[in-house]
Amino acid sequence: MRSRTTTALATLAALATLTGAAQAEIRLGASVSATGPAAFLGDPEAKTIEMMVEQINASGGINGEEIALTLYDDGGDPNKARTFATRLVEDDEVVAIIGGSTTGTTMSILSVAEAEGIPFISLAGAISIIDPVREYVFKTPHTDRMACEKIFADMAAQDITRIGMISGTDGFGASMQAQCKEVAGAQGIEILADETYGPQDADMTPQLTRIRNTEGVQAVLNPGFGQGPAIVTRNVAQLGFEIPLYQSHGVASDAFIELAGAEAAEGVRLPGTALLIADLLAEDDPQYQVVTDYTAAYREAYGTATSTFGGYAHDAVALIVDAVTRAGSTDPDDIRDALETTEGLVGTTGTYTFSAEDHLGLDLSAFRMLEIRDGGWSAVD
């Protein structure tokens, strides 16, 4: 009996190999920065992609076909990302690529994807990834510019028109500083003080004292991530500022409140995604279902809370699954065309509607203005 089963299995396996081309599984490629300096981005992303592929395969795959995932860790190194992207296309013969945790690695993968005609969904923030629109490149995270616009809109609603900025000189801080300065004028915001600090600095009270001594400043905005914003928040409390402090989406995580201290962080406002306030969402919120499902599944699989960055990966996988389902094909060009016609796909970051001119597909409603109250998050609008 046993031997007969083995024979049957062997035959099956042989058949599967023979008919491999006809019954192809869906080969999905990913290259994220699971280790290295951008690990806080890539680690939850890698875990999310693996978890979702497992879930989808367990429930029967897409159109009856399983996803075969090839995931590489580029360690945040653009050179490695390029090598892995090439390997994904040439050796692993994937039909779509997710990844590029940082703007640097995204740019490497992007050129390979464009040249080879493979749809690529990036997980990085910069607006230059999708502006100008590239045929095969999409992205899930909102841009720095949108964060600036959201913050300025909230300021304007409170009659704040003159602000001081203190930005980190790391890539994220510098990019957002530039974007904010670009859009400030159009939204009636005047930047009176513009200070910077190094990503490893231990004390920002001199810069903040300068901002405080600038006549007419009504609020402070701090684009940056890592320890900088936590130290700025503590210094603002130390100096006894009476004007509101705005942080960026770069620190939209519970760890920030912990590092800055609940007392110092009280009243700090920042734009974040629905994912961050999963517990606070109303049940009729359009994102309620997808956000609660994802956070619960992630917690069950890994025992820790997920982050906004894991949410970007979640949305990328969801977009590909949706596109493959609608395309009914595993041809990269069909998947690309289906991606571009995605309409109203609800993700953890927002609701995506792509078009030939828009490969980001999110609007400002994807951001929620949050305020830190009593050591936790609360929604402002």
Binding site: T205, P206, R210, Q227, I231, L239, G240, L259
Partner: protein
């Protein structure tokens, strides 16, 4: 006026952090002429081990002690496993070994601990102390007092104790030191242990201000090294003065000139000083007899 005082407070806070790191360089440099580039990693380990033992339930003073002892043990191990086997090698090779060690320690702590930022509570709370309209955090005073205490201890060690003099003798001429009965291998072990302990102590004191993660060591070591060079490598007084000077320079530039040029101005001044005084402010001129 209150602005100037605030800049001074900020400069002293940051400067004391640099000084503490710079002081850690002194002992190993004095014993062997080696600039230990793993010094920043000792600082990081001091902070990280304290964070994790504290979160595991140990009281803060015990957690800090555990961090200092464990890091000191690691310093001894570094000497025994990497520096001692390469005994005959030139100083440059030994310095490269310490760079390798720092990469190893960083990678290992990324795996053993995690990649997140951490902090533990300040020793005396977070309520700022107000002086004439400017504010300083109690933890800053801890760091300043710590830097001065380590300086005094080191100064006494090198000038008043036989062991301290043995360390200096070993650096000066290893063979001659052995001839007069100094156990140079033991002196090296001791200096690595002590340097690591001072680094860890620095990590314990500064973590509530600077926060800690597996990769903070490089930047701290770089600034500490710059401070030590400015003050005069190997001289505890130089480390203290160099650190505070560097911190004040940065704060004044950020306060009065522009925060964009903060680091640039600081390094320009260091270059200028070293141009006039290549040994640093307190470094003694060494003459080689041929």
């Amino acid at each position: 006026m209150d602005a100037l005082l605030q800049f001074v407070f900020s400069g002293l806070t940051v400067g004391a952090v640099y000084a503490l790191v710079a002081l850690g360089f002194t002992i190993i440099y004095n014993a062997s002429d080696v600039v230990n580039f793993a010094q920043g990693e000792f600082v990081m380990l001091g902070g990280m081990i304290t964070v994790f033992t504290f979160e595991a339930g140990l009281p803060l003073p015990l957690a800090a002690l555990a961090a200092i002892l464990l890091t000191a043990a690691l310093g001894v191990a570094l000497n025994k496993l990497a520096i001692e086997p390469a005994r005959g090698a030139p100083v440059v090779s030994l310095i490269i070994i310490t760079i390798g060690a720092s990469i190893l320690i960083r990678g290992a702590s990324q795996l053993i601990f995690d990649k997140q930022l951490h902090r533990f509570p300040a020793f005396s709370g977070d309520d700022p102390i107000r002086v004439l309209g400017a504010t300083i955090l109690p933890q800053s005073l801890w760091v300043i007092v710590g830097a001065v205490a380590v300086f005094v201890a080191l100064w006494l060690f090198f000038t008043r104790t036989l062991t301290g003099r043995a360390v200096l003798a070993t650096a000066n001429n290893r063979t001659a030191a052995q001839l007069v009965g100094i156990n140079t291998a033991w002196v090296m072990t001791l200096s690595f242990g002590l340097s690591a302990a001072i680094g860890a102590l620095a990590g314990v004191l500064v973590t509530p201000i600077t926060l800690v993660s597996y990769d903070v060591g490089v930047a701290l070591a770089l600034k500490g090294f710059a401070a030590a060079m400015l003050g005069g490598m190997g001289n505890p007084k130089g480390a203290l003065v160099g650190g505070l000077l560097l911190g004040l320079l940065e704060a004044m530039t950020a306060g009065y000139l522009s925060s964009q040029y903060k680091d640039a101005v600081a390094f320009l001044v260091i270059l200028g000083v070293l141009f006039v005084m290549p040994q640093g402010i307190f470094g003694h001129k060494s003459t080689e007899r041929v």
